[in-house]
Symmetry: C2
DNA sequence: GCCTATAAATGGAACGTTCCAATAAATCAA
DNA sequence: TTGATTTATTGGAACGTTCCATTTATAGGC
């Protein structure tokens, strides 16, 4: 049953008794072809088991229908949710996105981007790996392939970004903790080479200043953005002379780690130490205790990114506006009950 | 800086003052070219910002270096782990796998496969969506493109499968529960249209029979393979006249749901009701209480699948042997302490 | 010097599509 | 009937590569 040589448009033309041009037209759903002829052709396609060769077609057409999604960590459910949101949109548009994982490795990212470009993608949605050098996308930009960054941005770059309002998210989360009466706060996880980190941490600091938490009441512990990293952060923090009573975590994975480490010490998140996460992954709601987290509407951002991409492709432009998604704090158990007299003074800023 | 028209091999030939053939040879790393010439060419490539057109190349070469990974549910961390295992192998082989998600939808799967085929993939690693019809891969097989199934198999098909020993895993997990003194057992989640389900459920029944659990002591509750499905299963089971005291779950997601539902009722997994999962995702270890689960070495299976695929491509064959991976039970807290000889007939549940 | 062997580089056909310009067939206006 | 118009179909060049068969340059043997 192994077909000898792949059937081409010519084979099916012969089979159907028409010219290759006619077959091509049918393939493209052109209305110029008489319906009977078209169905004759379609039957031949079916009989022969023909598969369309998009590579050959792109040689002439120059715009493929494949879009690449380059993701820095597929094992983080957060990114899977993002991918799912995008796929919803692309599916409706009849586009198949190909996902590639960079595992947070800039070298791998380079390979992946190269391969995607060679494949002739129509556009790229990228969540860049840590340590991506500023010029990493210059060649792609020069080639005129539209790119949008999702969730993460690069320090200096004109590439449009779809991301949540990290600063504000961190601000309201911090405000929430202060409102509960905490006066010694920590920010756990992440590292300063990530713009997202600077935004989230910036929001944390901003809120501390807005509500008069002195610098001595703030502890910043960098760390891996994983459970393990979170565990390490807590250990470091509790070893301080004036340990914090609450922490805003870089993301939910770190928060889960912190809660785990608390449990190891016989402490409970919420009652003994307040924990707030960021991203609000599906798991947050089901954790024990349930995690208070900043919801960023991940799937929604994915959809938005996909829409922007489709528009860029359609209008053949390489620019688009940034889109900063609204965030909101989902309060659950891990941030604990109120602690005494909350004098949540002045209203919230920006 | 937007290059007017894409540079081709001819442009860079002109730039470097050689012929297109020479450039082609350099691109392929042929040793026939004098090193100085080669580096001259490479410089031109760099200067012009040339991107290789793999579509055009495949027109002649007929074997691309892209491998498609078609996955039925990317949001399940289990599959992400599988994908990561495969990527490790492919990266070492200089191949970039493109991942596509079918979201457990056979229609979407059809589209995705079509697109991948049109793209000229060298091979396909597939975890088929539920409800995939038996003939879904006939055309791909006929086209001579190697396929391997990962984790799931189709009822009747000669396509090689890489999967864990589901039957044995379920058997030892059930044996474990029986060994702890349980005499009324349940199997939660999944549905019979999945071969995996039949294997796992089969192992469960087999163990029950081997250890003389009467049919009245076994409860089978089908359900969605998600947390939500697990919650529903527990509710159904506890409403029975003779509710079970322990459950083997179709997978970890179901097990997490069961634990959640227990907690909602004020019961605790491990002490009030024994729960065992399947797959041993990373989260299992960190859950509260930690989940006893059947470890299947997900990433290892991914690596194996990738190896088999590479070998099939290399030897231009479309057949390979199945590979059934070893499993082992990781005992944690959720399956509880030994129940000793106490006759649990005096039920404690609900 | 000449012939041969080896090394390095090259021209041209082919791959499977698309799309333009051209043809053939059918319809209509007079 | 004839010419003009519309509708359906078609041939051929082009797209950017690879690879075979050649050509050209370099070296070696005598």
């Amino acid at each position: 049953m192994a077909s000898r040589a792949k059937a081409t448009i010519l084979d099916i033309a012969r089979e159907a008794g028409v010219s290759k041009s006619t077959v091509s037209l049918v393939l493209q759903g052109s209305g110029l072809i008489r319906p009977e002829t078209a169905s004759k052709v379609r039957k031949a396609i079916e009989d022969v088991g023909y598969v369309y060769n998009r590579g050959a077609a792109n040689l002439r057409k120059a715009h493929s229908n494949v879009i690449g999604m380059v993701i820095n960590d597929l094992t983080n459910p957060f990114f899977a949710e993002l991918a799912v949101g995008m796929e919803r949109v692309f599916q409706a548009a009849g586009v198949v996105p190909f996902i590639a994982n960079t595992a947070e490795n800039p070298v791998r990212q380079e390979e992946v981007l190269k391969s995607l470009m060679e494949q002739g993608v129509a556009g790229l949605i990228v969540s860049p790996a840590r340590g991506t050098v500023p010029g990493a996308f210059r060649r792609i930009e020069a080639a005129g392939v539209p790119i949008v960054f999702a969730m993460r941005r690069l320090p200096e770059s004109r590439i449009p970004v779809i991301a949540p309002d990290n600063r504000r998210g961190a601000f309201i989360a911090t405000e929430h903790l202060i409102g509960k009466g905490h006066r010694r706060l920590a920010f756990f996880g992440g590292s300063s080479d990530l713009v997202v980190y600077q935004e989230r941490m910036g929001g944390f600091i901003e809120a501390c200043e807005a509500f008069n938490i002195p610098a001595t009441g703030r502890l910043i512990v960098e760390g891996e953005t994983s459970r393990k990293g979170g565990m390490a952060c807590l250990d470091t923090a509790l070893a301080a002379s004036q340990p914090p009573t609450a922490a805003l975590c870089f993301n939910d994975a770190v928060a889960f780690g912190v809660m785990l480490a608390l449990r190891k010490r016989g402490l409970e998140a919420g009652t003994d130490f307040a924990v707030v996460g960021f991203d609000d992954v599906a798991e947050a709601e089901h954790y024990m205790p349930a995690l208070t987290s900043v919801a960023v509407d991940t799937a929604g951002l994915g959809e938005r990114a996909a829409h922007v991409m489709l528009k860029m492709i359609q209008s053949r432009t390489t620019r688009a506006e940034d889109h900063i998604g609204a965030v909101n704090l989902v309060v659950r158990e891990s941030s604990g009950p109120d602690r005494g007299k909350q004098d949540i003074a002045a209203g919230d800023a920006a």
